[in-house]
Amino acid sequence: MVTERQIDWRSGIVEALRANDIELICHVSDTVLAPIVRTLEEDPTFNVVTLTREEEGVGTLTGAYLGGVRGALLLQASGFGNILNALGSLAIPYQIPFPIILSARGGFLEHNVVQVAWGKAAPETAEALGMQYFPMTREDEVAFVAEQGMRHAFVSRRPTVIGIETQLSGGKRGR
């Protein structure tokens, strides 16, 4: 069941994308992100590309930025592990800005031990690469953190990570 509360924080992320003039959305499968992707696909402002593997998103968003179009990469924490070299040897040295909207796993509400290592390492890895990781844990901070976290990518001329933490999303509970 989709509650009103869930609709609200997801809308905050969509509005933050719009406020930052982001048009191209690249994404790889995630349960928490899926309703956001559906909303974006129905909105003519956005062009949604379903990637095959997350690393392609770094190249695709780099090409789009070089051509004058801002984009964002939506993925889950494990997918963040698939893009690291492309960040380090393309987006960061070429100063290509885009927000990475990361659906966190491995912390509170987790049921699967294999998610734990990347759940801890994702923010630390972003920091090690010199990128900001902005966590969102409460609905009332989403509008500000999402909009300003995305904006920070363009100010700092590099990707930033906006983390949808499990306290906010409810995580992905075991079935």
């Binding site: 090409g63 051509g67 179009v69």
Partner: protein, 199 residues
């Protein structure tokens, strides 16, 4: 001893020169890490609308996809080695699905990782990259066997809706001497050529 057929194949630098000579001034050229970029940079380093990769093996075809989406009125030609395409082969499936009509992938296939010592690759034996591209939905896949066929296929690709893939077997010739480049300067020059101001 039989002659080595790979030595009779066209050379990347010669075909790169033909791309530069054939493509109109407004065609955007993206070259992948290593020899593809070394050759384009040495042959046409000052050409407006060139983007050179210095790292991130495999990402050139994805950069081409994003650029083709952002600049739908321009043709985009990506030059990339087969080793890099094999590394990011998932992107062929994405490109086939998105199917930007203005994107052409030129894949240089010398059947080896030439730049790291000539280690033999799957395209020498078992992997048919043109068939992979076609199977991924890139319907216009050509396998030009010499320079004339290459130019003919390139002219068609620049004229007809794509995406196109020109999977070209080339001789294992080393790249032209690399030049030191600043990634930010590459970005700024490229965007300035398009009249764009980066953040």
């Amino acid at each position: 001893m039989a002659a080595n057929p790979s030595l009779e194949r066209p050379e990347r630098a010669d075909l790169t020169r033909r791309i530069v000579d054939t493509a109109a001034d407004d065609v955007l050229l993206v070259s992948g890490i290593g020899n593809a970029s070394f050759d384009l940079r040495a042959i046409a380093g000052e050409r407006p609308g060139n983007f050179y990769m210095l790292g991130s093996m495999g990402q050139a075809i994805s950069i081409g996809l994003g650029l083709a989406l952002a600049q739908p009125e321009r043709s985009v030609v990506v030059m990339e080695g087969e080793g890099s395409v094999l590394l990011n082969m998932s992107a062929l499936a994405t490109i086939g699905m998105v199917a930007p009509p203005n994107l052409t992938l030129v894949i240089w296939d010398n059947e080896q990782w030439q730049i790291t010592g000539g280690q033999r690759l799957s395209t020498a034996e078992s992997c048919d990259l043109a068939a992979v591209a076609t199977a991924c939905g890139i319907q216009n896949s050509a396998t030009p066997a010499n320079a004339d066929e290459f130019v003919q296929a390139l002219r068609y690709a620049l004229d007809a809706p794509g995406p196109h893939a020109l999977v070209t077997k080339i001789a294992p010739t080393p790249g032209l001497p690399p030049q030191r480049d600043d990634p930010v300067a590459i970005k700024l020059n490229f965007m300035a050529d398009l009249g764009l101001a980066p953040d």
